[in-house]
Every structure is written in C-alpha cells, then in structure tokens.
C-alpha cells in the first residue's frame, strides 16, 4: 500500500446502521418491498430518516417483535408468516420482498434466511422473498446496500452465452445510469447491465464470462457474491470526478480488449465538460482544509477527488471500514494521507475542534453542534442521496462542498 497509514482507535461510533439503506433502495428497486424484522427502535429509525416525505403507500415497513415473540421461536415464525400474508394481500403489486434482519432479530437468532425460503415457496408465482441483514451490529450505513445486493446475486439467472458481459454494481441515480449506459455503448461494450436493476431486480444474467465494475466503494460482499458466480472484478478507482470516471471507463475497456484511444474518443467531450465545470469550483475550494468523519466508505474516493481535482487539503480522513483490496487504486492516488478506520467519536471530535478544518464532512448528529462552534460542515448523507458519479455530475459534486462555504460567505446575520 502506497504510503497510506491506517490508524485504528476503536470506541464510540456515531453512524447509521444498514437499515438506512432502505431509504434509497426502495426508490431504486421499483417492485420491491422491504420488511424489517426488528423492534420499535428500527421502525423509528426508518421513519425518522424517511418520514419527512409523505407517502401515500410506502414500500417499507417493520414487523415489530413483541414480548410474546421473545418467549418462543415457533411463535415468532408463525407470526412472521401472518405479517407477510397481510402485507402481500394489501400490496398485490409487490414482486420481491426483502426480510431485513436487525440487531434484535439477530441477537435472538431468528433465522430469517429459512423464513425467506419458506415464504418463497408458500408465495411461489406471486412474490420472491429474500433476506439480508441491515443490523447495526453487523452493518454500517451503506453496508446495508452491500448486504441487499449480495442477497440478490445468488438469485440471478446463469449467463450461458459465450459473449462477455459487463455488470455495473451499486445503486446509481437513474440519470447517471443512463449516461454510463450511453458511454459504454459508444466505447463498444455491448452487454452492460446494472445491479440493482430498476424494475426487474432478479433478471440480470451472470456467469464466468461476466466482468463487473463497482460503482460504489462499499460493495465488499456484493463483489464476493459476484465472484462466487464466476464473474471477475475489474479493478479501478471509483467514478467520482473527471479523473476517477475516466480511469473507471479505461479499466472497463481494457478488460474488454478495447484500445485506450477508442475510450478517449468516446469520453473526450464529457471529460472536457467535467474539467470545465470543475474549474469554477476549484477556485473556491483550492487550499481549503478538509476533514472526514466516518460515515459511508465514500470518504477515501471523495478525499482523492477533492484533493487532486479541487486542490483541497485532506487533514483527516475517517471511514467506517476500509477494504484495502477494493480501495487499492484509490489509496494509490490519494497518496500520503492518514486514513482512520472507525475511530472513537469523542477523541476525533477533540482533534477536529483543535484543527478547525475549513470544511468538516460529518453526519447530521454532529453537523449542527459543530456549526454552532463555528465550523463549516457538509452533511455526509447527502453524498449518498445525490447524483455525484460520472463526468456530467463532477461539477455538482464539487458544488456540494463549495455550497456551505458559499453560504458562510453570504450570511450577514
């Protein structure tokens, strides 16, 4: 590894659990419903995160474990079946149901994978039932998406054709997905599929002729699941910024034996646009110090983009989990910046308050308290909820960081 130290100081963590992934996954996978099996805390978390949107019909819910369920396992399974029956009756359009494990369901060892098999059989032809864990004890924030996609992969049909195909893994904004699909077509990669697929999540074929590219850095288990289906990973930096996106497409093309000049021709215009769009924000961001609290695993690629393409100075980069294999290309580009893996919250706050960075990227539990201390913050969850990937979004991504600084300059009260 290239001059990057990984520092560990475990302690209190202020992060979301993987259940939060439901908030964006249920918008992306249109025919799916997410049923959390957990406690009132789990239900409360999801509605606190998503509840400001007013839904006529939300595509997620919680089966809340009650005292009598804790008494005996057999009861809990019967109860779960009853809840699923009621749900599918109410929502006939649902084709795919995820049973999402939580801390309570895992601590009491409720076997949701067996429940998913049982319910899939019972509702055969009507709905498929899958299972993954979004619990806080197992997953941090975006790892919920990883666990969800990893549960989809074994269900995908086998690709029996000889033609090589490409899978792009990671939920992307629809507009970004369309841009990427067009560029792959121009480069000459014919068979490209996205996981998760918008409508029919379980219809993307996968097999030994499949190559896959990760669009998101937090897909450790998804990558493993794809590899176990025979697919091979294409190592690349992540498509954030002009540099990252160009390298990502080049890596894909190389894996399909397409010459670099073909790629350069295809991406010439959008790359030039990205560089141009970034120039206006570089002026505002260059030289500013940057601080990341651990949140989504996007921290390392973002720090790489902001330092190399916007001239910012990363003072501390923390990430909830560091997969050095998936991030090898990123760490190489980031260079000599220490990366903290899941550091203790209180001690990191002490360091941030002493360092007083120009921009602190942190969760919403910390953002307003830090603003009140005079630090400018960028709340990190927005980076997961916004189209930030690809050439056309490079300027938007930089703007997300320029905006809090711009605001601090404008406000006269």
């Amino acid at each position: 590894m290239s001059g990057t130290d990984v520092l560990r100081d475990p302690g209190q963590r202020a992060v979301f659990c993987g259940l939060t992934g439901i908030v964006w996954l249920h918008r992306k996978i249109e025919d799916a419903f997410f049923l959390v099996v957990g406690s009132r805390t789990c239900a409360h978390l999801i509605q606190s995160a998503a509840g400001v949107m007013i839904f006529a019909e939300p595509r997620f819910a919680t089966a809340i474990i009650e005292e009598r369920d804790l008494a005996g396992m057999a009861d809990a399974n019967e109860e779960l079946d009853r809840v699923v029956d009621r749900l599918l009756e109410r929502r006939p359009e649902i084709k795919l149901l995820f049973l999402v494990g939580s801390c309570p369901s895992e601590v009491i060892k409720l076997d949701l994978s067996r429940a998913a098999l049982r319910l899939s059989t019972k509702h055969q032809g009507r709905a498929r039932v899958l299972n993954y864990s979004g619990s806080g004890i197992e997953t941090t924030f975006t790892q919920g998406e990883d666990a969800c996609l990893a549960s989809i992969v074994p269900e995908l049909p086998a690709d029996k054709s000889d033609a090589p195909s490409l899978i792009v893994a990671g939920a992307l904004a629809d507009v970004v997905e369309d841009q990427f699909a067009r560029l792959f077509a121009q480069i000459g990669i014919e068979k490209v599929a996205f996981v998760p697929a918008r409508a029919a999540a379980l219809e993307t074929p996968v097999g030994p002729n499949t190559r896959f590219l990760l669009a998101q850095p937090f897909l450790t288990e998804t990558a493993r699941a794809l590899e176990s289906r025979g697919a091979a990973q294409i190592a690349a930096p992540f498509p954030l910024g002009a540099e990252g996106t160009a390298a990502w497409f080049h890596a894909a093309a190389a894996a399909f034996c397409i010459k670099p000049d073909v790629v350069d021709a295809a991406i010439e215009l959008p790359r030039a646009r990205a560089v141009k769009a970034l120039a206006r924000y570089r002026a505002e961001l260059a030289g500013k110090s940057l601080w990341f609290f651990a949140d989504s695993q996007l921290e390392v690629p973002l720090a790489r983009f902001l330092s190399r393409e916007c001239g910012m100075r990363p003072a501390e980069v923390a990430t909830p989990y560091l997969n050095q294999r998936l991030l090898a290309a990123e760490l190489e580009l980031l260079g000599d910046v220490p990366v903290h893996e899941a550091p203790d919250l209180e001690r990191q706050l002490d360091r941030a308050k002493a360092a007083r960075p120009d921009i602190t990227v942190c969760g919403l539990g910390l953002a307003n308290p830090l603003e009140a201390l005079g630090l400018t913050t960028k709340w990190s969850i927005e980076l997961v909820f916004s189209p930030i990937h690809g050439f056309e979004q490079a300027g938007d991504l930089a703007e997300l960081f320029a905006r809090p600084l711009d605001r601090a300059m404008r406000l006269a009260v």
Binding site: Q12, R13, A14, C17, G18, L19, V37, S39, R40, T41, A43, H44, L45, S48, G51, I54, F55, A56, E57, A61, T62, A63, I64, I65, E66, E67, D69, A76, L80, V83, L87, R90, C103, P104, E106, V107, S135, G136, I137, T140, V175, D178, R182, L269, R273, A274, K276, A277, R280, E346, G363, G365, L366, N368, P369, A372, E392, G395, D396, E399
Partner: protein, 515 residues
C-alpha cells in the same frame, strides 16, 4: 409481531433521551448497538438543537457480543463521567441491549462513581416513548427528592408552583411554556421549578418547596406529580390550557390553588370573534376526525366542537395510558373512541368516518394525502416543519389564535379544491393546476407533466430545436429545476448559434452554468 408502517411513538429510551436532553448537567449512558445514535438526529435536526444530546452510547457490534459487553458499558460510563462531569448520571439499555441482559444499573453501582446514578428499567418490547419519558422523569424526581424533608408551608405570602412535563422534542413545548409563564406572572404566582425543561439536578431537589404542581403534559408528568402529591402533599392541576375555554378553566383552577383572583390573567384571544364572524359560517358542522396523544386529542375535541362549531366524526388516541379519559370524551359525542397504535387501523377508521378535516399527527398527514382530505397537525409525532422558528404555542390565548389559523388554513384550500372538482375543465384552474400547496391529491409525476406542458413557447424564432433524445433527457431533471435547465440550454445554444439542441448541448450548457 405487529406489522407497522409507521409508529406513533419511539421506543422508551427515546423518552428517556427527551428528558435528559431537556435538562442541564445530566448525562445518559445508553447500552445500545452501533446505529442507535440515529436518535441524536431527532434533536439536532428535527428540533434543530445546537448541541449534541448528553448521551454516550456503547455502540457495541457483533464481534463484541462474543466478548465482554459489560466491560464495554463500564468503560463508556467511566469515560462519560470523566469527560462531562455531570451532576446526575442516567444509565439504561436500548431494545437490543435489553436482550443481552448486562444490567447497566448494577454495573454502574459497582463502578463506585462519584455522582448520583439513576438506573432506568424501560421494557422496550412492551412500553413506548411517552411511558419512557414519564418513568425517567419520575425516577429522577424520586431519586433526588426521596430524602427531602417535607417543607413547612406557612400558608402566608406569595404562592409558588412547579411547571412539570415540558421535554425536548415535545410538540410546541418551548412556546407553551412562555404562555404559562405569562399567565402565572399575571396572577402573581411565583415559579419554583420548571422541569424537566432546562432544570438541573439541583433544581429537581427543590421541587418539594412549591405550593402546587402544574401538570402541563400528563403523558410525561403525571407519574411524578402523583408521587409528589403522595410524598409532599402538593396538589396538582387537571386542566390543560389548550383552547379558549380550557385556558379559562386552567386559570381559574390555578388561581384557586394559589388563593388569588383569576381576573388579571383572563386576557384576550382573537378566536371567539374570528369564529363568530360570518366568514366562518361555512365551518358549521364540518365533520372532523381527531387523533394524537390523549392530551392534545381531548383538548382538540373540545375546541373543535365548542369553539369552531365542527362536528366530531371520530376520535382516538395512541396513548393507552390515558385511554379512559379519551373514551369518556368520545361518549359525550356519541362515539366509540379508537385506542390504537396501528396506523392501518387509524386509516380504516378515517376512511369509514369520511371526515372533511383530519386533526392528527404527521402520520395522519400520510393518510389524509392518500384519501385526499384536508389535514392539520395537533400532536406529536411531528417532523421538522412543526418545530417552527416563530412563536407558535398551542396553549393559552395566543395558542388559541394559532389553532384558529392552522386548522382553518387547509380547509380554505379544501374549498378551492371542491370548486376545481365542480368545474374541472376550466382553462386556468384545471385538474392538474390545482392551487393547493398542501398537495392533497397531487403527484409529482402530474406536476412534472404539467411542467413540460406549461413550458413557455419560444419567445423568438431563432431558438434552437430540441432533439427528441435531449428533450427526453431534460424530462429526467426534477420538475422544479427543469424550467431553469431548459432556459439555460436554449440561451447557451442561441449564444453559440447552435440550431439543434443535442444531448451534448444540454450538458455543455450544464457544465457552463453549473447547477
């Protein structure tokens, strides 16, 4: 197992957090898995507080379960006391920690910390948020006052009262307190302690010195007030001053407890005149469905019928602790009260009652949207928009003014929507161009189509033509910024003499102008 789309209350440890966050010099060590820190956001985002809640979480993970989670808790407690030096330490468990049975109370006692510790037993699988708040407040009061001497009340001089029940994340608690303060000022009654709102543990120990207690929010304060009555003989109020009539009752009750004349506090509200003015005649007999916590529901039922002239079409609460009181009100109106925390049961009851107005919580906004019924929020749970910047009480005479405006507001819009239904082919006020910013029957997709349809025609002839592919791409941009993107792209094309707008032109312009 209970299928829950929305939950009216959080788990009981959220109630404990609401009490701890409301107070000063208190710290709460919560044995909880990684991820339960989401609760901080309720306070920093929804209530927009400028400090982190005074809560240390142990944030254990799966790998800790095999090891010593009790040790993790002890370290967290020790470090929290060292760092924050609180005057009172609360310790407890969240739902998952309850399952692993580490006994935070016993562990904290064994640590021999140099600070009073109140252990909280909050059964997460049978009780909920308000119960947790009430129990926590009661445990704190009992823990700090149990050995206090019963004060000798002389019966002479100015009487004082405690104001009990206001917490962090309470619906309009901040502004209600201001109204109660001004009522007590007008009556010449002293305020001994306000709690838990901004009270320190030292303030709590002074609770027995008051002549009586004002129970502002029974869901939170009644358990503690009952205990104070038993231990120290302090009487408590029963009227909750929401609405003009209830505020008058409250003032008379408080004045009687203090032995003073109520008249100076009986000031003015605009509600009675607004309600009598002819503009309000159309409100008569409007059918209203009321749901929320028991206190706000009981108050709203009275205000709706006696002060707005509505007809009560349905009433219910999720507060099982005060179900009896709500049933009594329902009976007066010839109704059966709905006591439920099942959002689907509430939806069914509203559908069956088919009211013209729903007075409820954030959850009833979802139902009302689905059923296309006007709706106003009267009770927690609420979201960020119901922690407003402006003074916005529910209690007292100013509170009555606020109730008037906020309940009538969606109905005026409702009337407009009825006109739309009657004349739906009107060229201007057609179905999809409805005026309601409340969006009762609007879908974003409708608005999106409308935004496309309503784009102004090109102003002059040299505006470039859109390629279908570019036009399609444009439609993927959210409707509220689409107009701007279209204008920018056309201006960009004009400046460069481009005659056909392609995908690339669209993005060239985007790169040129930024967002």
């Amino acid at each position: 197992m209970e299928l829950t789309l929305w939950t009216y209350e959080g788990p009981p440890h959220i109630g404990a957090m609401r009490v701890a966050t409301a107070m000063r010099n208190v710290h709460y060590v919560l044995h909880a898995p990684q991820g339960d820190t989401y609760a901080d956001l309720l306070f920093t985002m929804i209530e927009r507080r400028d400090k982190r809640p005074p809560v240390t979480y142990t944030t254990f993970q799966a790998r800790d379960l095999g090891a010593d989670t009790a040790e993790l808790f002890k370290n967290a407690a020790r470090e929290a006391v060292e760092r924050y030096d609180p005057a009172l330490l609360l310790v407890g468990a969240s739902c998952t920690a309850e399952l692993i049975q580490d006994d935070p109370g016993g562990l904290a006692a064994a640590l021999g910390l140099d600070v009073p510790v109140v252990p909280l037993e909050l059964p997460a699988y049978s009780k909920k948020e308000n119960w947790g708040a009430a129990e926590t407040f009661y445990r704190i009061v009992r823990g700090l006052c149990a050995n206090a001497p019963r004060p000798e009340l002389s019966g002479e001089g100015r009487k004082t009262a405690n104001i009990l029940g206001a917490t962090a994340l309470g619906f309009r608690h901040r502004d209600d307190l201001k109204e109660i303060h001004s009522i007590l000022d007008a009556l010449g009654i002293g305020i001994n302690v306000v709690a838990p709102w901004e009270a320190s543990p030292a303030d709590i120990t002074r609770l027995p010195e008051a002549d009586f207690n004002i129970v502002l929010y029974p869901e939170v304060a009644r358990t503690a007030a009952d205990w104070l009555k038993r231990e120290f003989g302090q009487p408590m109020t029963s009227a909750v001053p929401i609405g003009v009539g209830a505020t008058r009752d409250f003032i008379e009750e408080v004045a009687a407890l203090a032995g003073v004349d109520p008249t100076p506090a009986l000031s003015h509200s605009n509600l009675p005149w607004y309600s009598r003015s002819v503009d309000s005649t159309y409100l008569t007999g409007k059918r209203v469905f009321v749901f929320g916590d028991a206190t706000h529901v009981i108050a709203a039922a009275r205000v709706a019928t006696e002060e707005f002239g509505f007809t009560l079409a349905g009433i219910g609460t999720y507060s099982r602790e005060l179900a009896r009181e709500v049933r009594a009100v329902a009976k007066q109106h010839g109704l059966e009260a709905l006591i439920a925390d099942d959002h689907l049961a509430v939806e069914e009851a509203i559908r069956a009652a088919s009211p013209e107005l729903v007075l409820g919580t954030q959850m009833e906004r979802h139902i009302a949207k689905r059923l296309g019924i006007a709706c106003a929020v009267i009770s927690a749970p609420v979201h960020v928009q119901d922690f407003p910047a402006r003074h916005s009480p529910q209690m007292g005479f100013e509170g009555a003014n606020v109730l008037w405006d906020s309940w009538v507001h969606p109905l005026v819009m409702g009337l407009e929507e009825h006109l739309l239904t009657m004349f739906r082919d009107d060229v201007e006020f057609h179905d999809r161009a409805g005026p309601s910013h409340l969006g009762a029957e609007h879908k974003a997709s409708d608005l999106a189509q409308e935004a496309i349809a309503d784009e102004p025609e090109p102003q002059n002839d040299n505006v470039a033509l859109w390629e279908p592919e570019a036009e399609k791409e444009l439609s993927k941009i959210p409707f509220f910024v689409r107009g701007k993107a279209r204008r920018n792209t056309e201006a960009f094309a004009n400046e460069r003499g481009v005659s056909r707008i392609t995908l690339d032109t669209l993005y060239e312009a985007k790169a040129h102008y930024g967002r």
